[in-house]
């Protein structure tokens, strides 16, 4: 591995070259530099160096759109005509009883594939032929915290590395100047969703926009040209070479501590995060500045000050990140827990994400990135076909729908199904472990071979479970 001073000189060289180029050209060069480093110095690759997958990957990167609170599948992506027919009747719902609530929204067929999609997602529906709907999903528990943790780590009982951390561990990153795993707007109390657990600390997500929910008030957004910037990204006093001197000294102290402590993964994490932070200072401000995007592009994502603005920005940032070589980006959108007020709140939530997501798919497609970018849309579980309080739905972990697009999945395809009312998965059943196995497979990773030895035992994301859903592979 290069020493820090060598790294620095390479960086200065690149920076001077970059002054005449656009940002992406620079990013691509940094990318090549990393690959070159990998080839010439493969004996000692850094933990983030790009690695070969187990077999030919269909997807190189992931954008995970996490819908926190669990959107209703029977009102969005799972058409249940029988439920509509049986509206008001009593439905079989396991131990409890309930009056069925047919979706108040119309479903219609879209694209050549004729996938049925609800009127709540009109723009995503225009990409029907890209979507692979997974309608046989199920998970262990109908409780938000556990289900969210399980969706991210496979295990709701113990602290385990998250899907993104495993991905980064398996594949490394394409751009050493950026975190390989980024969580945008992750929300409070979600550290476990993005954590690395026993994997080295460097594989956990860098969380952007987490410190303050209100930092990006509309007023602030308008007034600053640099939107959604990362706090503390620039030292107000020191130029980079002087700061590098300081950092070299700090790292010397850190390495000495690591030597004394013998085994201290957290200190290793400190050392690596300093290096990454140092490199990020250079890259991130440009990357997060949307001012070089055309009006048309902003419009495509719904970045227009309306209800779609916030998630639109996130989607656009996600595209910029993956384009720059970030391996795994997760976006979060909250408030999908519609026990009440379904008829007003669900359309509002759908409206906030529909255009941004459609924009993202369109943009990835036109940049020829969709073919090897896996876009995943999922809540932590689904909702009951029966009503709660007349205008709401309860939690349902037994059957629900998520979808994937791009990255080697069959488009215009529905895999699996729930019973006629949408309560329980009956066909093409896909547990979270299967879902994880399939995602890793698309990334060229064998879920049984992607292991990490922790305390004498090989751990994997899927524990002892997981079946790849081969039928959804394009």
């Amino acid at each position: 591995m290069m020493s820090n001073s060598e790294l620095f000189s390479r960086r200065t060289a690149l920076r001077s070259i970059s002054s005449g180029f656009g940002y992406l050209a620079f990013a691509a060069m940094a990318d090549q530099q990393v690959r070159a480093e990998k080839k010439t110095d493969s004996a000692a690759p850094g933990p983030l160096a790009a690695k070969e997958p187990h077999f030919a990957a269909r997807a190189k990167r992931v954008i995970f759109l996490s819908m926190r609170g669990a959107p209703s599948h029977v009102d969005t992506f799972e058409y249940k005509p029988q439920l509509t027919k049986d509206d008001g009747k009593e439905g079989k719902v396991g131990r409890s009883r309930g009056r069925l609530l047919g979706s108040p929204w119309e479903f219609s067929q879209h694209g050549e594939s004729g996938l049925w999609i609800s009127e709540l997602m009109p723009e995503i529906a225009t990409h029907a032929d890209e979507l692979c709907l997974l309608s046989g999903m199920h998970t262990d528990l109908p409780a938000h915290p556990q289900a969210q943790v399980q969706m991210h780590t496979g295990n709701h009982q113990f602290v385990r590395p998250s899907l993104g951390a495993w991905t980064l561990y398996g594949l490394g990153t394409e751009n050493a100047n950026l975190p390989g795993f980024i969580a945008l707007n992750p929300g409070n109390g979600t550290a476990q969703h993005f954590g690395s657990s026993f994997l080295p600390a460097i594989y956990q997500a860098a969380r952007f926009g987490a410190a303050s929910g209100r930092r990006n008030s509309p007023r602030r957004r308008r007034s600053s040209g640099r939107q959604e910037s990362v706090p503390n990204i620039k030292n107000p006093r020191l130029e980079a070479d002087l700061q590098r001197l300081q950092l070299d000294y700090v790292q010397k102290l850190n390495r000495a501590k690591l030597r004394r402590d013998v085994h201290q993964p957290e200190v290793e994490g400190v050392i690596e995060s300093f290096e990454l932070a140092f490199r990020m200072q250079d890259k991130v401000p440009d990357l997060m500045d949307l001012s070089d995007e055309s009006e048309k592009t902003l419009e495509l994502y719904g970045v227009d000050g309306s209800a779609t603005d916030q998630f639109g920005r996130q989607c656009l940032l996600a595209r910029r990140f993956v384009e720059a070589g970030v391996r795994f980006v997760e976006l979060s959108h909250s408030n999908w827990d519609h026990h009440r007020n379904l008829s007003e709140d669900l359309p509002a939530r759908c409206n906030e994400v529909d255009r941004p997501i459609a924009g993202l798919l369109a943009d990835l497609k036109r940049r020829d990135l969709l073919k090897d970018t896996l876009v995943i849309w999922a809540g932590e579980f689904g909702r009951t076909p029966h009503a709660q309080g007349g205008d709401g739905r309860d939690h349902n972990n037994k059957g629900y729908t998520t979808w994937m697009a791009g990255g080697g999945v069959k488009g215009g395809f529905r895999y699996g199904a729930t019973d006629p009312h949408g309560y329980e998965a009956v066909m093409g059943k896909m547990h979270i472990h299967d879902w994880h196995a399939t995602i890793l497979h698309l990334l060229g990773l064998h879920h049984e071979k992607l292991t990490y030895n922790h305390a004498g035992r090989d751990f994997r994301l899927t524990d002892v479970h997981g079946v790849v859903a081969k039928k959804i592979l394009a």
């Binding site: 079989k92 700061q243 102290l253 402590d261 957290e266 995060s273 140092f278 309080g389």
Partner: protein, 827 residues
Amino acid sequence: MKMRSHPFLTGVLSLSATGLLLAQDQEVAPSAEEVKFFEEKIRPALVEYCYKCHSADEKIKGGLQLDTREGLRHGGDSGPALELDKPEESLLWTAITWQDEDYEMPPKKKLPASVIADFRKWIEMGAPDPREGERVVIKTGIDIAEGREFWSFQKPEKRKAPVVKATDWPHSEVDRFLLAALEEEGLTPAGDAGADVLLRRLYFDLTGLPPTPEEFESYGTAWRRDPVAAYRAKVDELLSRTQFGERWGRHWLDVARYAESSGKETNMTYPHAWRYRDYVIDSFNEDKPYDQFLSEQIAGDLLEVESDEDWQENLIATGFLALGPKGLNERNGRQFALDLADEQIDVTTQAILGLTVACARCHDHKFDPIPTVDYYALSGIFQSTRTYFGTINLAVSRRGTKLLELPVEDEEPMDTMSAREMAFVKERLSEAEEDLVEMERTARENRRTGGNNNAQQQILRLRRTVTTLRARLNGVDSDGVAKTLAMGVQDYPRPVEPTVLVRGELDRPAQEVPRGFLQVMAHEETPEPLPPDGSGRLQLAQWLTSPENPLTARVMVNRIWQKLFGQGLVTSTSNFGTTGKAPSHPELLDYLAVRFVEDDWSVKSMIRELVNTKAYQMSSEFNRGAYLKDPANALLWRFTPRRLDAEALRDAMLCGSGEIDLERPLGSMVSRTGDTVVGQRLSPELLNRQVTYRSVYLPFVRDSLPESLALFDAADPNLVTGERESTNVPGQALYLMNNAFVLRRGDVMAQRLLEEAEETEEQIRLAFKLTYGRRASTLEVEQGREFLWSFTAAAVKKGEEREKAESQALGVFCQGLLASAEFRYLN
């Protein structure tokens, strides 16, 4: 066939006897003749043939309950019993006529033909059922007696420490429990930690601050004379410092989800929450017995007191129940009240009992033996309690309440308005009120004439002004002196007997249940029934703090253990239920719980006992063999190294620079800002303003914690936080490298070094003591010098004056130490 109106089409709302029930299916009342038929033919038949398996008093097989109209219509697991538009296909009909092999009812003997004929006639009449108001009864599928078998519901027993082989190792009983477990696994404990390492650990654990260089030196002297005596004396000294309460009070504030704003959609400030914060800190400093501490928080307003001061303290304590997150924009007042009670149940049971009882709101607890009826029994206690949390009512915030006016005035009032200021506010208020009346008139006229109606925005703005100014005036007495207000609770005059709600839904009431506690933890001292003239909170407090309660003491000693040893004996510190983790040392946990109660619930005694153990004083030295056997260090073969938490990190920086202000500030930044929406007057800039008092006094508002806390995993006050996260992300590195707060601390620390030490070498040595709490090695001094020299040279080369470059170098050096791993971690 004559059909009655479809029950789902005529959703007329009606109030039931309790004034709460929204009837779902209001249908045409049965005629006298129909009622007669039902009472003479159908009811007796149901009672005779069906109730045995399908009624609230017997069993509810297959989820089918036939003793109420709702139950019969609703049906069971197989669907509705009656289909009024397809009577022939009704399950009730096919079952009693034995048409379906799987559903032949009654199963043993077919009904007499005459009864079947009566049912046929009755169904043809449209199944008139006069049993209105006979409610659905929720029954539980939980076997309480069986649930009680789980370890955590068994009363802790006094245990004797086991025999160990290495008899010279243990200092105490606790050590023997630990050592026995290690020996069983063939593991040996690590050696003793060095004096410096142990001192730094002890200081941070007990006070959240590092030792000063003077303390470091004087302890070293005492330790060389008599290490054991020096250590024990230091423990006692630190326990008696006010900084102890600030450290341990913060741990409780994590658990109590303390915050100074409502969070959720509106996020209004709670300007008086700080009184609870100070109460908690003072309670830990006084070593208030934990049972009393809990009683005050649950029922302080109901405890007997001898002085106004005591009463004041007890009232403030009930802020525990008042300062949770709230959805202030909820339109339905009843829903809000139930959600409030739910949040109170959640925090009380998680914080004190380590149980997630709130999961039982909609259905029996999925994992623990807590039936829904228990939830509502508890909910009744809180529904009979009025919560005073303040907040002003704006368009987006409609549920504000009054605050408690305290009996004793503040010595230093929070806010005093001069006569001039008061006159000014009054004038502005009356102007705004007049403008509002005027604007509302304009709006009405515009509406009538169909004219442009942009007056609405103006009205909202004026209403906001009026509300805010009124709140400001209400906060002071006639002399302009701020009233002493607090958040807290009081009993309603008459308690509510709670109604169980089907799946927690407001409009689906089931039976009433008496107020009460959790059946699985009923013990001899459980009062039953609760008195009719109070909410029952006093009895709840007594029940929680009874020595018979199996969880309260266990949960607290485990919390204390976790803060001192890095992980709990039960690692899921707020979940002692079946989905929680089993204790690593069950007998030790029992031993500690019993001892805690015997020692009059003294938190300080418990901490003293634990830090005086040999185990606490072990080094954190790594041991590969032990690691492979026990990677999580659950058995404590060494001391677990850990990170300083957010508050300790920030405070330690201020200690390094010598700026820390150990005085408690009056109130908080939030109280000085007053009632507002977080993000408006209480801006991110204000929340992150550089101040030098201890971190526990920083503004702690939901979803907008100061960066110095949020980045380093401070507790999210939307949740009960027993264990904090420990993330390691580049955002933290960026903060330490670039944030103005950290840069400033480096500068001030450099200034201090220049003032307190003359030679560069001495400055470097002092810097190491200030940050790492140890002496610098010769090599480290040399490396420090080299850094200062090379940085200065580089800066000079860039055109900086030598003197300036040198002083900058020293600041950068200090900041570097504050950012480094050794400063941020405890060994």
